[in-house]
């Protein structure tokens, strides 16, 4: 068990199984097919991301360095939250990028029922340590426990 401390981008607590992307998550490429074709498990559609391709993202503790790709990224994340197909939480090893930040803030401000805690700046060691399937607990104040 190891504990990491980051910065709270969107508040909340969560406990979920880890899903790890070692490269940047292309939000549009990853979520578009799931949103378009009614896939409630949000199966990742990004062929360029071998860590996540064809894996279910909804309800998982999504661990990643940052997001990349189209500037639609923030609104795609907002849509995933609105349609209840979002990860249980998003945990960034790096400081959050502007597109993911937009999605996290939009969901937090505009959606009443959607909860997706977002923590950033967890450090490179976090992404080195965490593996698919590990149990992640997000506590208050940016503490993330990996078990």
């Amino acid at each position: 068990m190891k504990e990491f401390k980051g910065r709270v981008v969107a508040e909340g607590t969560a406990s979920a199984s880890a899903l790890v992307s070692h490269n940047g998550l292309n939000t549009l490429a990853s979520f578009q097919a799931a949103l378009q074709f009614g896939d409630k498990k949000a199966t990742c559609g990004d062929q360029n991301n071998p860590d996540l391709y064809k894996k279910e993202m909804a309800g998982k503790a999504l661990c990643l360095p940052r997001t990349i790709g189209s500037t639609t990224g923030g609104l795609v994340l907002y849509c995933a939250c609105s349609m209840n197909r979002q990860p249980a939480c998003m945990l960034f090893s790096e400081p959050i990028d502007s597109l993911a930040a937009a999605g996290a803030v939009l969901a937090d401000v505009w959606l009443k029922d959607s909860q997706m805690p977002v923590i950033d700046s967890l450090g490179d060691e976090f992404l080195d340590y965490v593996k698919d399937g590990m149990t992640i607990t997000v506590k208050e104040n940016g503490v993330v426990v990996v078990d």
């Binding site: 292309n26 790709g69 189209s70 500037t71 639609t72 609104l75 609105s82 502007s98 939009l106 505009w110």
Partner: protein, 428 residues
């Protein structure tokens, strides 16, 4: 909630709900977004027009249309008119029955409704759909130093780098909300410090580097940092003319899609590099040398994700981002000359040139347009990326010289000269 940034009385009043709950939420969104990046204040947008990335009435984006309805119903609309990214479908572009069915009955079923929403929110005009809104013919060209609330990564990097405007890499919806309140958070590329280069890129190639490959290499290396590029000016004839602007448009789009570059400086060419020179470089900047071998390495590492790697191309897209007028003329002439040389009448692969509606309108008055038609090339305003972003079109062997299109779709990348060979019967 307490915020660290300094807000004016007007901004505080909006945040407190004095102009309604919806506008208060819009301001809260912008302030919270800025706080994450250490913004010290909200500063006024000074550009004449905005530019939005979301141009497509994709059924999957229903929550966005609901959000926009809410803004419209509360009269929380844009304080400036805006252009928008290209439309996702065009009847002129080849599509079979199944593809048309998917586009019209499944994917873009909200297109008409969404365009009505855009009109209510402040769309510039019915032809203001292009990713190259900054072209003279379109008219959304910011001035040096203008503060923008744009999104669309290729447009943002062009506005910052080639025009000297100031804009962060905003997400869709944040772009609109900035112009609804009239302010954007002051951080990153809006500040002098944020515009300094953390990388020196030395171009040491033996010939003019392919814009798309050079941009791709730099994007993958520097990611979101600002590069200061030396050694490229000689390949651009030491001036920022129409040819250089077209080159930098394609180069910048590749830096933004293969990395997350929002601004680059080219020594002797781009306005801030001309004005401030090497003082733009941070003291501890890293160096990246690009030679012929490095560009070849980048090219060789692109994955080919066609099911049958030797399949015959079924369609070719040229113009992601949309072509400039000078590029349309140049491509038409090159295709014409190559077909004449190869004793062929028409292109050998169905080929689509894409450009802004206003650019296409001007091109249609020129003699080269007759040549384009004679040679069987289709001229369209479509967004090839949106066209291809579905499982059916994704299976069609598509070729392109756009690195952005390669990055986001199954399209296979070739250099410009290879593409020319492919579509004019010169490929071996």
């Amino acid at each position: 909630m307490d915020y660290k940034m300094k807000l004016s009385a007007e901004q505080q009043n909006i945040l407190a709900g004095q102009k309604g709950d919806t506008l208060a939420k819009v301001m809260e969104t912008m302030v919270r977004y800025g706080e994450l990046f250490g913004a010290d204040s909200m500063i006024k947008i000074t550009s004449d027009y905005n530019h939005l990335v979301t141009s497509f009435g994709l059924k999957a984006l229903k929550p966005i249309y609901e959000l926009m309805d809410r803004l419209i119903s509360c009269d929380a609309v844009s304080t400036q008119k805006f252009s928008c990214d290209p439309r996702p479908v065009d009847p002129n572009v080849p599509a079979n029955f199944l593809e048309k069915f998917v586009f019209n009955k499944f994917m873009y079923t909200k297109q008409t409704d969404y365009e009505k929403q855009l009109e209510k929110l402040g769309l510039l005009n019915k032809d203001a759909f292009t990713c190259t809104c900054y072209m003279d013919e379109v008219g959304n060209t910011p001035k040096k130093g203008d503060i923008l609330s744009w999104s669309e990564s290729s447009a943002v990097v062009y506005a910052n780098s080639v025009l000297g405007a100031r804009c962060n890499r905003n997400s869709g919806i944040i772009d609109l909300m900035g112009s609804v309140v009239g302010y954007v958070p002051n951080f990153g590329l809006l500040t002098d410090q944020g515009r300094k280069a953390k990388w020196i890129v030395e171009v040491k190639t033996t010939k003019k580097p392919e814009a798309q490959l050079l941009g791709s290499a730099i994007g993958m290396k520097v990611m979101e940092d600002v590069p200061y590029i030396v050694g490229l000016d000689k390949w651009l004839d030491n001036k920022l003319d129409d040819n250089a602007k077209g080159y930098l448009k394609d180069f910048g789009a590749a830096t933004a899609s293969n990395g997350a570059v929002g601004l680059y400086h080219v020594e002797g060419i781009t306005p801030e590099a001309v004005e401030l020179g090497k003082s733009l470089i941070e003291e501890d900047a890293k160096t990246y040398v690009i030679d012929d071998a490095e560009l070849q390495r980048v090219y060789d590492n692109y994955p080919i994700i066609w099911k049958k790697k030797e399949a015959k191309p079924k369609i070719c897209f040229i113009g992601c981002p949309h072509l400039s007028l000078a590029q349309l003329v140049s491509w038409t002439k090159r295709v014409d000359q190559a077909l004449t040389k190869n004793q062929l009448d028409k292109v050998t692969v169905p080929t689509v040139f894409t450009a802004a509606p206003a650019v296409a309108k001007k091109f249609k008055t020129m003699e080269e347009y007759q040549i384009l038609q004679k040679r069987g090339i289709i001229l369209s305003y479509i967004c090839p990326l949106m066209y291809m972003n579905n499982p059916i079109c994704g299976k069609v062997p598509t070729i392109t010289c756009s690195n952005k299109l390669r990055t986001y779709t199954t399209a296979r990348y070739y250099t410009e000269s290879e593409i020319l060979d492919q579509i004019t019967g010169g490929a071996k």
